[in-house]
Symmetry: C2
Subunit: 536 residues, 2 copies
Amino acid sequence: MAFFDELARIVGDSNVCKDAGTIERLARSTGPRQTTPVGVARPAKREEVQAIVRLAGQFHIPLFPISSGKNWGYGDACAPTDGNLILDLSRMNRIIEVNPDLAYTVVEPGVTQGQLFDFLEDNHLPLMMDVTGAGRSASIIGNLLERGSGHTPYGDHFATSCNYEIVMADGSVIQTGFGPYRNSQAQHVYKWGVGPSLDGLFSQSNVGIVTRATIWLMPKPEKFVMFIATLKTKDGIGPLFEAIRRLRLAGTLRSTLHCFNDRRLLGSATGFPWDRASGEQALELEHPDLFRQMCKEYGVPAWAATGSLQGSAVEVAASRKAVRHELKDVPGLDRLLFIGDGTFAFTQTLARSLRRIAPTSLLLRRLESIKLGRDMLLGRPSDATLKGSHWRARIQPTDSVDPLDTKSGLAWISPILPMTAAAIAEVSRLSEQTFHKHGFEYQATITSITDRALIAVQSISFDRSSETETMRAGRCQEELVQTLLDHGYVPYRGPSSIMRQVWAAAPIYWQTLAALKHTWDPAGIVAPGRYIDQPT
Amino acid sequence: MAFFDELARIVGDSNVCKDAGTIERLARSTGPRQTTPVGVARPAKREEVQAIVRLAGQFHIPLFPISSGKNWGYGDACAPTDGNLILDLSRMNRIIEVNPDLAYTVVEPGVTQGQLFDFLEDNHLPLMMDVTGAGRSASIIGNLLERGSGHTPYGDHFATSCNYEIVMADGSVIQTGFGPYRNSQAQHVYKWGVGPSLDGLFSQSNVGIVTRATIWLMPKPEKFVMFIATLKTKDGIGPLFEAIRRLRLAGTLRSTLHCFNDRRLLGSATGFPWDRASGEQALELEHPDLFRQMCKEYGVPAWAATGSLQGSAVEVAASRKAVRHELKDVPGLDRLLFIGDGTFAFTQTLARSLRRIAPTSLLLRRLESIKLGRDMLLGRPSDATLKGSHWRARIQPTDSVDPLDTKSGLAWISPILPMTAAAIAEVSRLSEQTFHKHGFEYQATITSITDRALIAVQSISFDRSSETETMRAGRCQEELVQTLLDHGYVPYRGPSSIMRQVWAAAPIYWQTLAALKHTWDPAGIVAPGRYIDQPT
């Protein structure tokens, strides 16, 4: 086919694949639905992306750009429809600049969390980054374009990035913010530019292909204290977040607070007890005693939360006092631990001993989870976070932690909530009911993404190797998205498969966007159907 | 004319004007250029705006929407071209909701800073807002759509607002963020929504008319301390902002720091000495001794800066220590004063006595400027800030502080700079040279708008009643905009008259936007030429 010959001329033979093995690998999804591409091209630079876009326009082949393609739980590397060419940008992996004074870096889409972290450490730069729990191989630009979130004060990745370089569907190149101006002095430090600000238009979108971005970094804090709060009872979570809201609005707390429910925590500690339960119902319903016993065995509370404080030593001491004061009356509060550098060092010495003398002990597990939580709060990517994605997998992970390799099913439904106890109660009730109706454990994390908003990441963990379980997961996802939409809880992000429901919920809005898509990409070359619908 | 008859049918006779007096009043500008509208319509609600937009489409009359029209120094209420109908939204002035827990308000475009402030105070709400120095009558939505800035941690008005309701050029209505979804729970608390985020597209733009927005508010802080730093010498300003950058990046300082140079401070204290200077050259060049003497008389340092700390008492004490530590080595630092509630109350008792016994004393002036600075930092709008806009006016303000009434000329050139001493030095040098070449005092304020970016608001103050001075101001503005663009310093905002230069500096970018404008507003009904160029 002439298209692939031309493609090979642009990127070289070895960077175009359309063999069955590659196609099968790229078609895999953690979600209930998958699509099959026609092949993959791996450009090494922006000019090649431009040439591919023009070529795709001539041949009417839609392109689906991925950075590293690790969008687990939200559609992976799958295009909305079959027949796309996957445009894999992972070879474009240059760290173009790091500025230690102004605390930013300029990266290409292939740069991963692990790569940037290593670069900062290897060069002894006094900077830290924000990371997600998606592991070392996740792309920084890929995550920010999905408006993903992390754990530090820079947890909103879209908000802490700017100056996107974009290849448009006609092959032209623009930059956002102050990027388009020659010798631009403020392009890396100010997001909005002059005139309309376009960053938002290119996030969760398909009107262009982002080939470079500026990411803001943080100076390493003088003093850092992690805190862990655990709740004995479910109902403390609402009051906990009301307290967190006050602390965030007052400016005391700047990190995000991540809260994990018991079933989410259990899924990180171990796998589903396939030998003792059918998996046709949620474990907590089918075998409540077994569930309680497992929680006890793995030291799992009703909820566990991690957050951090940073600043000068006196500032951190002052903030610590404020946090303790606000959280003290949260119902069911079991422990509130503050872990500074000294305490942390001690826990890790202890962990080293335990690894020898009691490698399966509960205490060791706890100490290891402290390390993982601390890593996230300090912007250190870790593949250990991926362990939680294998709950219902029958193949347990060995070398690879990639949930695609273990056929771990993951469907994440992630509505945004106002930070109130009432909203948490309503979303939890609606979601748990739906999970239970379809026979899944209700796994949830709730994160304070801004001063007044929460993301509830609710995970349907299923066995992707079982056809019936995969179908059930698909029905559960569809029903829950609709139930939440009907109650006004809209997902902040999602796989392409849920977008029909989102479009139907706001038709005029999405038609307005489809008209814009048509203007900039009349042939529908860039990721047709990804977030923006095709014009009718 | 049938158009005006139809218009009167929509908004009522008394809300349509096209008499000479009204037109003359609306054509006034503080800037060097002005344009003449065909009349004004004042709708009372969104449905009327929709009807007007459709009517304007039928008659091919361009509309120029204003909220309160107080865009002093940046084009006032003037459309880019003659012949627009001014769409005055000031009657749409409902405060639709205030939520004290989640700390936000929902307002219409006519709501002014003064109105919202009074509402919060009158209802004893424990919330504060961020305000600009534009006085009580400035519109909140008008300012945020120009991406204006204030003094508190919520100083970036665009970043701290969401959920815009927009009348499109075809008369349809959309909302941004989570606004378009029925019964939407998170519409007021989360900016980005799902899919492309459009807030940026409607700011500094002309693709729709914003008729409602959510504005985030702050809880009143438990403890508040203002600080004032003054510099004896010019060259301390770079190191001062490098220290501020470290404090902001560390999270210690959350308010913006506003720095005023000597000529800007003098302009707030008094008027140009027309009896002793020609005004054909900058005062500091024509009469350096007189300038120095006036600075001495009015107690004006080389630079004065104001900022604030807020939080719990211990947190503020800790932050204060960190600020003192970072600023102690700034060259030329004269005073660093921290003013808490107690000290402030004492200064105001003193001021009351001085008003009787020494009403023109320097000390009283200082105490009054402390009050003004504190008001800004606490989100209290004040018309006293407008005093600084009358420097070269020959008519000195009496009842009205509106610079249009005193024929005060104001042209603000406001580039964004990275927060480094080098950038401040370069922009100051280029700008001061250009101001001096055209015979104007170099008045500048520099503000830390984010953790790593500054806005330098550089004011050409001129006598709008003098034709030659007005022409000189126009040439100075044009030359300085070009010089700064050539060096990579792009304005963050500006009057329509500078946009040709901005467009020419990034032609592909602006053509891409013009295509979008054409899609949503093919007849060019909404503010043609305002920020986005017409398609060619």
